[in-house]
Symmetry: C2
Amino acid sequence: MNFKISKRAFQSALNIVARAISSNSPLPALSGIKMEVEHDSITLTGSDSDISIQTVLHGSDEDCGLIVKEAGSIVIEAKYILEIVRKIDADEIELEIVDGSLTRISGMSAEFRINGMRAMDYPAIDFTRPSQQLQMDADLLLKIISQTTFATSDRETRPVLTGVNMKCNGSHLECVATDSYRLAKKTVELDSENHFNITIPARSLNEVARTIDSDGKIQIAVSDKKAQFWIGDTVIQTRLIDGAYPETERLIPTEFQHELTVDSRDMLSAIDRASFIKNEGISIVKMSANSEEVVISSKSQEVGSSVENLNIIQYEGNPLEISFSGKYVFEAIRVLSATTIKIFFSGEMKPFIIRNVDDDSILQLVLPVRTYS
Amino acid sequence: MNFKISKRAFQSALNIVARAISSNSPLPALSGIKMEVEHDSITLTGSDSDISIQTVLHGSDEDCGLIVKEAGSIVIEAKYILEIVRKIDADEIELEIVDGSLTRISGMSAEFRINGMRAMDYPAIDFTRPSQQLQMDADLLLKIISQTTFATSDRETRPVLTGVNMKCNGSHLECVATDSYRLAKKTVELDSENHFNITIPARSLNEVARTIDSDGKIQIAVSDKKAQFWIGDTVIQTRLIDGAYPETERLIPTEFQHELTVDSRDMLSAIDRASFIKNEGISIVKMSANSEEVVISSKSQEVGSSVENLNIIQYEGNPLEISFSGKYVFEAIRVLSATTIKIFFSGEMKPFIIRNVDDDSILQLVLPVRTYS
C-alpha cells in the first residue's frame, strides 16, 4: 500500500468515519480505521459494531489529490491517524506500508512510522444496500432527529424505548419517541411509497445528524435488520432495535378542556427560572391558570421557592392547577422552534400536548406529576 | 436588608468574588457569598480560606444603580445567587431579607425566596492592607504570572514548589517557579523600593490573572503572612506558602558549548508532532544537532516513531544528542511569546536554557532526560 492524498480531503474523511468508533471497543481492531486502497480509490471504514460509517475517496475527484502507487489495506488506531494527519503541516500526505503492518505517514519534513493492524483482522461488515429505499431533504431529516431523539429513554430496561420508531405506511411516515413520561411524534409525507416499521437507536440518529453538513438529499435504505443513510460518498449504517414498539396512538388525548397560547420564549424563560429550584436534582414546576392570570411556581424545602406571573397571549378554560417536570416541558418546547405555542390540557392528572401553532407536523406530549402541596 | 441594584453591575461583581469559592469547601458558610449592605454601598466577599476576594459596589457609581432601603447582611449559596441573577430577565434586581435568613430576590415579574445563612456564621477575614506596597502595570503582572506559574509543581510533597517565589531587593524583583525538573525566572525592575521574599500559591496567581480585565495599574501589598492584589474596588488576598524557597541561582548554568537559534513556531510544531509518540503517557523527544542539520525524533515500542528535519536559523557548537520532555520544552517556549528563540546547551546531561532573543527578562530552564537507545 502506497498513496499520496490531499491532507484536507483525507482529514475530513477520517473525521467522518471516526465518529462511529467508540473509545471502549470490545474488539481491538474496532478502535482503528480500516483503509482499503484500490487502483483509483480509498475506502475508509469506522465501526463500533452498532454503527458503521464508510466513505470513499476517489482519484477522479480533483480536490482529493489521490495518487495510488500501490494498492493494499491496513487498520490504524483512529486516535493515532487523526492526530498525526492533523499535526502534519503539509498540503499533501503520503502513506506507505513499509514492513508488515508498520506504516509510514509523512508530509513535508516530518515522518511517522506507526504500528498498524492487519486489515484481515478487521470484522467483516456488510454494507449491501437494502431494497426498501426512500429519500428526503437533509433539512427534514435533521428536523425529525432533533424533534424526537431527546424524548427517547436512556435506560436499557426497555431497549426499544432507547430508539425512535419509524413507521411507514405508503407515503406516510410517523416517527415516535417516548421514555414513557413524555412522547414526541413527527409526521412526514414522502414522495415515494414504502412499508416498514423499524426502531433506530437514538445514538445512531444523532451521529447521522452530526454527519449531515449539506442541504442536499439523503438516501435512506432499510431492511428489518439495518438502516442506511447515504450522504454523497458516505454511508452510515446502523443496527435496529429488536422488539415490538408500543402502540402509542391511544395515549395521545384528543379532547381538551383548557388551552394556553403563549410566546415560546416567554414560556421557556419562565420554566428555566422556575426549574432552578430543584428537589433532589429534579425540578417540578407548578402552573396555576385561570381567566385572570397564569402563575408559574416551584418550591423546595432546602433551597426556597420561586413564583412569577407568566406573560400569556390567551388562556381558555376553567381554572387549572398542574405540575410537571421543568426539564421535560422545556426540552419539548425548545425543539418545536416555534414563535407561538399552544398547550392543550385535559385535566390535572392527564397528559398534555404542546404544539407549534405554525407547524402541525410535530406533537409533544408530557405527563404531569402528582404533588402533595 | 433591602436594596435595588443594576443586574449587570451586581452580576459582574458576584462573578468576581465567586472565583474564590471552592466547590468542596470545608466550612458550609464558605460555599456562600457574603453581602454586607451599608447605607450607600454593598461589600461582597467570597473565600475558600486560601484565597479571599472582596469587592465593593458604591451607590455613588451611577452604573451601579444602587438604592439601599435598609442596611443588613446575609450569606447566600454562591451557585444559587449566581444562577438566579443570571436567569432574572430584568435591568434591576431587588434583594430583601423577608424572614430570618429567607431572602427575596426579584426582578420583573419573577420572584425567588431563597434560604440564606446568617452573616455572623461567616468566618472573619482580615483584609487590612499590609505596609509593604508596590504597583505595576496589569500587563506586566499578567506576563509574570503566565511565564512562571506553569512551571510550579502540582505535587504537595514539597509545598513550597507549588508557588511562585517573589524576591524583592530594592527595586529589583525576581519571580521564580520550579518543579525541580524545569525552572522559569522572570526579572522585573520596579519604580519603588521594597524588601521581601515570599512564595505565592500558583493557584492564587492564576485567579488574579483571571480577574484582571483592565490595562491599568495593580496595587500589590505584602506581609510575611499574606499578599493582596488591588484592582480598582476589588481585592484578591492570598495566604503565602510557608518554608524557605530553595536557592535556585546556582542551578542555572552560565557557560554553554552549543547554541541553537530557531523560529519559535517551527520549534513548537516540531515538538508538538514528536510529542505525539508517548511512552506510558510521557513524550520524550530527542534532538540530534550538528553543523549540517538538526533532527527531532521520538520513539515508542508500542506506537511507533517519528523523525523530522528541523528548519533552523543557526546552530553553533559541536554535534549534540540530547533528550527532553516534549511537554516541558513546549510549555517553556510557548510562554516566551517569542518570534525567535535561542536554546543554550552545555552538554547531554546538563540543564539547558531557552530565551526569547527579544526579551531577556525571562529565562526558561529544562533538565534533559537520560535515554538508553
